[in-house]
Amino acid sequence: MKIFQILQPRAIIALSSAFAALLLTGCATQSVVTPNPQDPWESSNRSVYAFNDAVDRTLLKPVAEAYAFVTPQPVRSCINNIFLNLGEVWSFINSSIQGRHEDALNTMGRFLLNSTMGIGGCFDLASMNGAKRISNDFGVTLGVWGISSGPYMVLPILGGTTLRDGTGKIPDLYFNQYGYGQMVHNVDVRNSIYGFEIIERREALLDVTNMVDRTAPDPYSFIRDAYLKKREAQVRGTQGEAEKLPNYEDFEDVPADDKALGIAPKK
């Protein structure tokens, strides 16, 4: 409970200022310039995104940066690997019920090797030996079972997801967080681990989010598009059909009339 006690006053300030930001952005109705068929709720999504971003900037990110500052890289790698390793069991179950038995076997092999020789998952020996982590969850399972992703949505705090994957998060959280949490009987310790996990996960994303901040003209659509592509790839799977290369329309040599009408060049 320690972490929460330290954070509480700041958390209240952050949340209230973030809510103010949410209200402000909500009032200034955001016009959607380029409607995306996968994102029909873009306007309200952008408001929640602004709220999440404010919470992140005032609360989560500074704490994660402080953690990165005081903890050496090898220790952070070790702790990150331990959390990822615990997640392998749920990945294994999902790969299994998707009928991806090869992935399931690989994941179980990774889990056994890293848990034992890798000392509780601290050392990712499996990756060092070329066995890539195949992360899997219930949203992907629903996708493999033929359920389409549905609209993109941004949930408060939890962030970007889709209707399908957001639904999948319920069993994900139940198994990974609640399930493991029940093994820790002391409530204070359990909550501290939960709090620590959030900070640790945020820290692992610092490089990525800093990159997006520095380079994306529109971080919202950058994150949305990347998320949707990544999920598509996960549903497609490692053994499935080969990924399709994007076929970009090249407007280098378009005749003037076509370009004025916005007609794509014929290949």
Partner: protein
């Protein structure tokens, strides 16, 4: 006699050692061959840049300006930014005047340069990139080279793919894929968004604002 023989032997060994060292040095510093096989070319580009970054003391001390310089000298010349920008702009490309096109390419080049620099500021001795065996036809003009990047020891390798085009000057990289997300594909909506809101000049301004 014995002593003299030993010293000659020492000299020979020393000489051989010097030679091999020198050859290692030249090997690491040869310019990437844009007419070699695509995967070999990509590996050479990456090795050259990583070698320079790892050897540089100010980079290791966290000097981002120096990282930018090295990226600018050793990485960006192998990228076809005109094509990357043109494809990202999509149908808006032809609506831009030649001056706007040039300004957009310049702004996007700076943006992407910082993307690479940002990813490379934290190189350590364990940082490496290994291209995977090339799967494709030998005479293909548009190819994908897959690679795995290890940033620090004991971390997950990151999947990084390069898309290259064979030009008159040899291979040029024009798109990259990080963990199943293609760069151009991911910038197209953002470009359209900005152009739709504030026009092409607005997009150029937005990119340049980030570049400050």
């Amino acid at each position: 006699m014995m002593k003299r023989f030993l010293s000659v032997k020492c000299l020979v060994v020393l000489f051989a050692a010097c030679c091999s060292l020198a050859s290692v040095q030249t090997l690491a510093q040869t310019k990437p061959d844009a007419n070699a096989a695509a995967n070999i070319f990509v590996q050479q580009v990456a090795d050259q840049a990583l070698h320079a970054l790892k050897a540089d003391t100010s980079v290791r001390a966290g000097d981002t300006v120096r990282v930018n310089q090295i990226v600018d000298e050793l990485l960006l010349p192998y990228v076809d930014f005109e094509k990357t920008t043109r494809l990202s702009a999509g149908r808006y490309w032809k609506q831009a005047t030649p001056e706007q096109q040039a300004a957009l390419v310049k702004a996007f080049r700076a943006t992407l340069g910082r993307t690479y620099s940002g990813a490379l500021t934290r190189v350590d001795d364990a940082t490496s990139m290994k291209t995977l065996a090339f799967r494709g036809e030998d005479d293909a003009k548009d190819v994908v080279v897959k690679s795995q990047v290890i940033q620090h020891s004991n971390t997950q390798p990151v999947q990084l793919d390069y898309r290259l085009e064979k030009t008159a000057q040899g291979w040029k990289i024009y798109d990259i894929n990080v963990e199943n997300v293609w760069l151009i594909e991911n910038y197209r909506n953002q470009f359209a968004q900005q152009i739709g809101q504030n026009g092409i000049d607005g997009l150029i301004a937005a990119l340049n604002q980030k570049n400050k």
